[in-house]
Structures are given as structure tokens and as C-alpha cells.
Symmetry: C2
Subunit: 311 residues, 2 copies
């Protein structure tokens, strides 16, 4: 089933211990849709400026991603510049230029309206809510957010959470959102705000899903579940940018490819999320996901299984 994703399509200048890249294609919706495109049809809603040309468009086309919802307007695309020189787990932001993104008014092409899966990438919760409301038929809605929205736009964010099935955030964001330093308690508090499923991303340590029978197609008696997917210990992390969005793309893309969501498909989705995140960081920007094959994905899935399974 098709996923519609709304979020940023941007240019990133990135410096890491492995080197530097100027203005490579980036943005949460870009990383998400590339990762998800290996599993299902993906449709993007975003806004870009005149600097978004055929070269960038071709990256989406090569993966069969529907870009009719990427609006092109006068001006420059969203631009981010950051480095990970001291700590590969945390970006240091040097510049954020919203540019055309500052006045982003998501417009949903008619051809997108039958999307049963909707992903609200990390943008202003006011926009997330608007898109969610404009797509009332979406059967499963997942989303991301960040510390900035949690701290300074809490009321708007709480409205978004009410309409969300699955929230994907990191440890710090979970604890901040809940105002609780214990992950289990914090997870429960966040789930009480709306999402029946919470995926907490731990960076190099993988991710934990907190879910319940409400997470599945067949809803039995309410029961809490926890599932932990590993991350692959990597010899080289070239560029962590987009790892979380790639995780979300693999996770949600796999779910959307399944006819039914069961505990088993859910667990596999967590693994595919980790798999896509592990590829994303192997090269700068979108380079690795652009070259990736489904065979490599399946091989790494088996590697993740061996990494964690007793037999």
C-alpha cells in the first residue's frame, strides 16, 4: 500500500571525520522516501526552490518515488549545514536556512488521497496536523518530531499526537516529552498522549518499540509488548545524517507492504528499520541508499538476525 510522506527536501553541507560534502541532497522526507521505496510506493509532499533541479529530481525518479507533491517555488530550498567532528551521535548545527520552507503550505495532490499510510516527518506540528486532517482516510499514521517542537510548541504537538498511531523519536525526546527519566514510564506516558505504538531510537544501540495489541490488525485483549532491534556495530560511520529517517522509512515501508500487521510483521519492520539506518550512514547524504539493492537489504536482514538470535 502506498505511503504519503510530508517533510523537508533540502540541501545539506556536512562535515564528519570521513570528510566533507557541500550541498548534497537531504531532508527528512528525502531519506525517508528513499528507504521506504524499497518496500512500497512512496509519494512525497514538500516544497523546494529553484536550486532543486533535474539532478535531484532524478534521485527520486530512479527509485520510482512520486514527486508530484513536491512544490517548486521561487527562492532557495531549505539548507542545513552541520558537523559531527567530535561526536558521531550528535550533529553540531552551523547554519539553518529555512528559505522556501518558511512559508511551506503542504498541498496534497488528488492522486495521493488514497494513500492508506501517512508519514509526518519532523516539521512544524501545525503543518503535520493540517496534513493529517486533509487525509482522513489514512489507515495508519506515523510521525517524528524533535526537541525544538517538544519544548516550544508543545500544545500544537499534543494535537498531532492525538491523531498519530505510531511515533518515532529518540531517548532524549521521549524522556523530555513525558517529563520522566525512566524510559518505560516515559514510553507509557507518551503512549497515553495518543500513539498506540512508540519506537524509541537509541542511535548506535538500535531501537526499542513499545506497543500493544492496539498496534495490530487483530486487536486482542490489551497487552503490553516491548521489542528491541539492534544496530549493527559498524566499522565506519561516514555520515549519520538521515539515519533516523532511513530507519523510519524501512520500518514504515515494510509495514505498508504487508496485508496485515501482526506481532511478527511488526518485529520484522523494526529489523528493516535498523537495516536501512545501518546502510544510510555508510556514505554521505543519500549516496548509499541510491546505490542499494534489495538483495543487500535482505542479506543484512539475515546478518541482523544472526547478531541477535540464539539459534
Amino acid at each position: 500500500m502506498a505511503i504519503t510522506v510530508v517533510g523537508s527536501v533540502a540541501f545539506d553541507s556536512i562535515e564528519t571525520p570521513s570528510g566533507r560534502r557541500e550541498r548534497c541532497l537531504g531532508g527528512a522526507a528525502t531519506h525517508f522516501s528513499l528507504a521506504a521505496s524499497f518496500f512500497t510506493d512512496v509519494r512525497v509532499i514538500a516544497v523546494v526552490g529553484e536550486d532543486f533541479g533535474p539532478e535531484q529530481e532524478a534521485v527520486f525518479q530512479a527509485r520510482g518515488i512520486d514527486t508530484r507533491g513536491i512544490e517548486r517555488i521561487a527562492g532557495k530550498s531549505f539548507f542545513w549545514e552541520g558537523s559531527y567532528l567530535e561526536n558521531l551521535n550528535e550533529a553540531k548545527t552551523h547554519a539553518t536556512e529555512l528559505n522556501v520552507f518558511a512559508a511551506f503550505e503542504p498541498k496534497i495532490p488528488d492522486a495521493y488521497r488514497d494513500s492508506e499510510f501517512l508519514f509526518l516527518a519532523n516539521i512544524d506540528p501545525v503543518l503535520q496536523r493540517r496534513v493529517r486532517e486533509a487525509m482522513p482516510d489514512a489507515r495508519l499514521v506515523a510521525g517524528d518530531t524533535m526537541n525544538y517542537w517538544i519544548k516550544d510548541h508543545r500544545a500544537a504537538l499534543l494535537e498531532v499526537l492525538k491523531g498519530l498511531d505510531i511515533l518515532l523519536i529518540n531517548d532524549t525526546e521521549t524522556k523530555m516529552l513525558a517529563g520522566n527519566n525512566n524510559l518505560v514510564h516515559a514510553a507509557r506516558a507518551v503512549m497515553a498522549l495518543g500513539p498506540h505504538t512508540l519506537v524509541v531510537k537509541h542511535g548506535e544501540y538500535g531501537a526499542t518499540a513499545f506497543f500493544s495489541s492496539h498496534s495490530f490488525s487483530k486487536k486482542d485483549a490489551y497487552e503490553e509488548h516491548i521489542f528491541r532491534a539492534p544496530a549493527l556495530p559498524l566499522e565506519e560511520v561516514v555520515d549519520p545524517t538521515g539515519a533516523g529517517d532511513s530507519f523510519a522509512g524501512g520500518f514504515f515501508g515494510y509495514l505498508a507492504s504487508q496485508t496485515e500487521i501482526t506481532p511478527a510483521t511488526f518485529r520484522r519492520a523494526m529489523f528493516y528499520g535498523s537495516v536501512m539506518g545501518s546502510f544510510a550512514v555508510e556514505r554521505f547524504g543519500t549516496e548509499r541508499l541510491q546505490q542499494l539493492t534489495r538483495q543487500e537489504i535482505d542479506d543484512r536482514f539475515i546478518l541482523f538476525r544472526e547478531l541477535t538470535h540464539l539459534d
Copy 2:
């Protein structure tokens, strides 16, 4: 097969967000041997003072632990006071009184000499090496260390590592010992110093084992393996003291209980390590391990399996 462990038997005064305990029984050898005692026979080498009485002795006796190697001398036992008020992952030390431990000269009872498994808990590497040399028949030798020895007693520690099969340390210690910030590269560098197996403990995120065919009874062509055991997301961490030693006890105790070390037993050992660590933190000091049953251990093993396995 029996394990001999050498390390500290001590008194700890501990403060955590859950409360405070004065002078509870602690020390690496204590936590290790309690955890390992659920799997195999354990023999302790340590030194204590006159404050170590029948009450403390009874804790070991109740678990069938051989204490003939715990020397009692005039003076007070090793004492540590610490708190975890701001961060449950890192202790703040308020006082360390070595007392009788300052002049510790490990003496190995004859009855211990046939131990095929030897665990060198975190003590002065000079003493670790002495015990290792005094037990040349030990078939599998594992050990722990800490940042203090890595930084200021490197030469002595390197001698210990040469005689070690398995080293269990945390992320920071691994990177510090290797002088490399990438975990995979650091692990390889540490294994080049001696141990064919390295278990890196990640606290609340579990542990990663780096091992090779040399880790097993049947040594095939050299092949690198990585295995990740999770930690249980816990609703309440009452006291993290001894979690790492309990992990080591579960891990090494299970290995010692097996007739052969295969990739499968090795993976199960990692799980039992995580299981014992998860129990240890549920109460202050040794309280939880004292009350534990084998049935609870097996139940939690199944829980860990569900937490990580696809089906």
C-alpha cells in the same frame, strides 16, 4: 565445572533515587559469585576484616559458595560509598576505604586448584596476574578491569590481558584501552592484546560480544562473530551497583556449566549475563540475587528471547 573468582568482598553505602542503604554487602567478587552460583560451583578468593561476620558469611553459604579462600584479618573490610542521584548509569564516589584490601595477598586454597574456570574481577592487575599464574590449569580465564588501571597501570594490565581468554569491560573502557573511538576497531585492537573474546557492556542497552572461532571448543577457520544481547527496559532501577559483575557471573557461570563451548552456548551465556544484570538492579546491593530462584531466571530468559527474536 567450578569457577574460582578473585576480587573484592566489601561493604557499600549507596544512595539512589529509590533510597539509601548503609554498609550493605558488596564487592565485585560478591556480586559475581552470587550470580554465577545459580549455574555452577563457585569458589571465592578475597580478604575481609573483622566487620565481616556470620551475617555476611551466611549470604555466601545460602548459595553454596565456597568461602574458604576469603581470608579474614585484623582491621576493616573494603568500604565504598557512592550515589547515583543524577545519573543511574554512573556512580558518584564519595568515599573509598581500601582498609584490609590495601595489603591483599591472594592465597589460593588447595581445594580450589582444580578449578577449570577462573574469573579475575576488577582489582590491581598485579594481583590478577599473580592469581592467573598460580592457577596454570585454568582452562578458561575471564576478567574485568576499569579506567583507573587502564590509565595509570597500563603495563601491568597488558601483562594480564596476555593471559586472558575473555575480557568484560564497558564501551568507554574499550575505547580507552584501544585508543580508538570506533567500537569495532577498538574491539579488534583489544583482542589483539590477548583475549580471544571481548564482551562490551552497554549498561541499559545490553552488551556486545566480539568473538571468533578461537572462542569455541572446536576451533574452525578463524571467523569474526558479533552477538548483541539486549538489556531489559526496566520500570525501576533501584541500585545499579554490581550490575556488571552480575552480568559477568551469569555469563561465565553459564559457560562453566556447559560441557562444550559452541556458538550456541556462547550466545545463551550472553543472554544469561543480561538476565542476571537485570535482576541485580531491582533491589539494593545483593538483595535481589539473594532471593532469586532458578525458575525466575529461566522465565526472564524467555522474556529476553521474546524481546529480541523475530518469531
